[in-house]
Symmetry: C2
Subunit: 215 residues, 2 copies
Amino acid sequence: MNISDKTIGRLSLYRRLLYRFTAEGRTNVYSHQIAAMSGATPAQVRRDLMVIGYSGSPNRGYRIDDLISSIGEFLDDPSGQNVTLVGVGNLGRAILAYFAGRRPKLAIVAAFDIVPDKVNRTIHGCHCYPMEEFPAIAKRENITVGILTVPADVAQSAAQMLAESGVRGILNFAPVVLTLPPTVYVQDVDMVMTLERVAYFARKNIPDMKRGTQL
Amino acid sequence: MNISDKTIGRLSLYRRLLYRFTAEGRTNVYSHQIAAMSGATPAQVRRDLMVIGYSGSPNRGYRIDDLISSIGEFLDDPSGQNVTLVGVGNLGRAILAYFAGRRPKLAIVAAFDIVPDKVNRTIHGCHCYPMEEFPAIAKRENITVGILTVPADVAQSAAQMLAESGVRGILNFAPVVLTLPPTVYVQDVDMVMTLERVAYFARKNIPDMKRGTQL
């Protein structure tokens, strides 16, 4: 089955909302309630839940705990996936702090940098190693996902090292279009470009304008 | 003329690439070279440059400095736009550090927080004010763009204060779907969701899979 980027994004958002409902003490939810919170239509929500094979009882609402488990079975690797972060500058540190303990099945298990006084220490709970140890540690820790927060001029070579060491998905914050084998999934996030786009539409102020899609 | 999110994103990316070419000492560029670096087709590049009314001489290539000016005239407000950042936690600080001095026409002129020991001081070159001063400072500084890096439970109320004080575009990092008047352009960036999506496709490892679109 070929699932689109957007479907995966919405399932991830639904789970996020369901965690919040649980925290509020709720046990059941209707598709129209998930829809209202996520910006999707109720029909879209029901279609997405059919995609993951969830057969709830839409008339009485879905059980929130069941739904969270079903989404997790679909989205997550049952044994977890190990993540690395390469480039421990301001943004890299912020991401380490932000992710610490947030998703046990998607944990940042090792960080890397080339600057001597950043390595061989623990930053926001994550050990930082020198870059040349990447291949060995990636293999030992079975790292398959990478977050790239290095400067533009070293992004391509760092990404190649990740790809050669078994990383199959890269979240790239460097303002560079990476050239990698098609077996590596790359998601670019360029915050300057994103802000430029927001500024453009803020100025144009088109009343019936669509929201930007979730990044 | 109704310009899409994607066109604006590509123009912003072309400019980013052109700055890099300039730094390398180049003066001219062909559409196919911009295309190769940006992941677009040469025809798409030429169409985008027509949209902004750029009439270069594609046979001898475009003059890079002219092209940078033309994109700037289209994308930027000639007198600049002032940006605010609300929520000076780890991510907020990283963004302040990252943007400092990077885009003079899109400067973060004021930061806000509610925590007493974060306010009335300068963080990465940006003064941090208490949240209750937002309406007055937004008016004084003519702030039209906001970056929201607050916790989920206060994001809606903070976004409303921004919208009521004249902000017309919001880059939202809080994991919340904001409800705002249609005159406010909202771009959501949820890093946990984005990483979940990268991890999913890293695991599925579909060889002919499309790249995620630029965020």
